[in-house]
Symmetry: C2
DNA sequence: GGAATACTACGAAATTCTTCGTAATTTAAT
DNA sequence: ATTAAATTACGAAGAATTTCGTAGTATTCC
């Protein structure tokens, strides 16, 4: 057992995880560049310092959110848990803290505020069918 | 100007909001009692101090999350925003930070991990029907 | 080799969140 | 009226998060 705690990623940590989930194991430099190339529609176009990203990623490795490969000069950090697992954790957390455990209400909120594409709606219907039918 | 809109409630603040959403405008004493009467199935049954709850609620009033009625000796705190509005905010935030804006994926996660009751599934179908413009 | 470059390690400041202790004030009890 | 109880105000400590600066170490380039 190494890093199996229920570490909940913070906002900054999630941004980093998103980069790594998208691009795979990455160096600090790469992640920092991705974070900074985001457009800032609002005035605050502040760039994140390299050592800031470094530090957070080091902390994440300690927490068990990332795994570090030190075999090369520039360490490679990979996600310790797959994206869907962390998403599940966050959804469950939100479910408990803000929706009293009612997945239905959460779903209604998620769908209610966005005009889902017909295709998405179809996908959800399929999911519902499968859940109901019990076969799969 | 004093009450800022964008205020996102923290974990502790959300617990307080849940009490107030459920019971309506409440005193600090009442909220604190509700928070402490929760059973802690696991070891850490530590009680929250009265002044802790008081302080957080005062801060929440400053942030604009709660509104305070000082007409009586024991101040009454009410929610500044309806539950659904805050839920929407939190869902949107999660959508952006962890699901890349895809409501579909969030919904799949929310539904995937829970055996929804047939009734809930039916409700969601209704919602989908309405989203598609009533016809189908 | 020596200078410039790139990266990690370390520590600490700044912020926010959470927690209380203490003092002051008001209400209730005796 | 005095004492006791309850409540608010204030401030501050502790913890977690986010931010860097500086120093040290390795790599690359004349």
């Amino acid at each position: 057992m190494g890093a199996k705690r229920k570490a909940r990623p913070t906002a900054a940590e999630l941004k980093i995880l998103n980069v790594i989930w998208t691009h795979g194991p990455s160096t600090v430099r790469f992640v920092n560049d991705r974070l900074n190339e985001e457009k800032t529609p609002k005035g605050g176009g502040r760039t994140i310092g390299y050592t800031t990203t470094l530090k957070i990623m080091q902390v994440m490795a300690e927490k068990g959110l990332l795994e570090r490969d030190e075999s090369r000069r520039s360490h490679l950090y990979g996600a310790a848990s797959p994206q869907h697992q962390v998403q599940r954790l966050l959804v469950d957390r939100l479910l408990q803290t803000a929706f009293g455990g009612s997945a239905l209400k959460l779903v209604m909120q998620a769908l209610g505020g966005h005009k889902a594409k017909p295709e998405e709606i179809a996908r959800i219907r399929e999911l519902l069918d499968r859940m109901e039918g019990g076969r799969r």
